[in-house]
Subunit: 215 residues, 2 copies
């Protein structure tokens, strides 16, 4: 059994790929596939087989040579590694169109992420109830509500100008991880995990492909 | 000068990192920084200096040993490589909360991506005008409108069940690149570039960090 210390040196890109493998394996499990050859899994994930073997090797030995991977076993192992064998509690700041879309997004709950609290500063919104059931709290109550509900991940969907303030609120309340949709680089103390969602980075990939494809 | 053929073998992760470098360099240019040491640029981007050198080496020689990189020059070179020295025309299918958030998102235009057409199937929406000025067209008119407007990138923000149909429409109209926000794997013919935006992959990274950080 490898130690946690060893785990913490895993490259971030490997963690991202594990997440992608888990999505592919879930789809396979739903199709009732029991065993999958390593090259078939690779094809399904759009990642080459050597890379998959290398990524999994950080965590132990998986699969049987000449046979492949047991779908359910590998899936539950990856979920354990990623910490997905529990439901993570999230709070959202910013109930605009993006915030509403996030709260309603079917994928979060399916993947083990649940919005347990939502916040805004707009007096026209605070106190109202979303179709999904959550009452919109004022950001001034973030600290209290986050502690009451045991929020673990803060999600920021405010305009750029209000994102740093939202981050300060989360930091002050003891939240250690932030998913940031606002188009700014947040300043956070050491030990905070921040992931930025920037849609335009994905578009740059497409632009590059289109540019390369031109005759 | 290296050839296009050479370019097309660049790893996708390198392209994604170039995109991140361009964001950092833009911020530096705005702060009126002329030259930046390679380790400072690395720090700003959150990527190690050796990786930056390796990524840039695919495209030529950049920076001056012991001095650093010229911010504006490197930025415009990366933008040229990525194909960002033009504005890309996008069309959106699915005017729900997410679609509205995307059309209003300040970052797209800033980065050279413009929504020139939007589509939905809801009779209550079709024919109405968005605050940003676009008229919502019916998806049945996608082929005609996409050709008229010269759309290059299709963006899908429909529910999962309607995304494949939206993809078929784009494919039929000759669009060669799709940004997909729906939580399904799209089936597309060879030669199509598809990028999927899955917010939960970012959350998995946070969950992993939180799991590792536990005492």
């Amino acid at each position: 059994m490898r130690s946690i210390m060893k785990f913490s040196k895993i490259p971030a890109v490997t963690i991202t790929r594990l997440s992608i493998y888990s999505r592919c394996l879930e789809a396979l499990a739903q199709e009732d596939v029991k065993i999958i050859a390593s090259d078939k899994l690779a094809q399904k994930c759009g990642i080459n087989p050597a890379q998959i073997r290398k990524d999994l090797a950080y965590f132990g030995e998986f699969g049987i040579r000449g046979v492949g991977y047991f779908v359910k076993e590998l899936l539950s192992e990856i979920q354990r590694i990623l910490g997905l064998n529990k439901t993570w509690k999230m709070a959202l700041v910013g109930i605009g169109n993006l915030g509403l879309a996030l709260v309603a997004h079917e994928n979060f709950v399916r993947q083990g992420y649940e919005f347990v609290a939502v916040f805004d500063v707009d007096p026209a919104k605070v106190g109202r109830r979303l179709p999904s059931g959550q009452i919109i709290h004022h950001v001034d109550d973030l600290d209290k509500v986050v502690k009451e509900k045991g929020v673990e991940i803060g999600v920021i969907a405010t305009p750029a100008g209000k994102a740093q303030n939202a981050a300060h609120r989360f930091i002050g309340s003891g939240v250690k991880a932030i998913l940031n949709f606002a188009p700014i680089q947040l300043q956070v103390p050491e030990g905070m995990a921040v992931e930025n969602v920037d849609f335009t980075v994905k578009l740059d990939n497409l632009a590059y492909h289109l540019t390369m494809a031109e005759p």
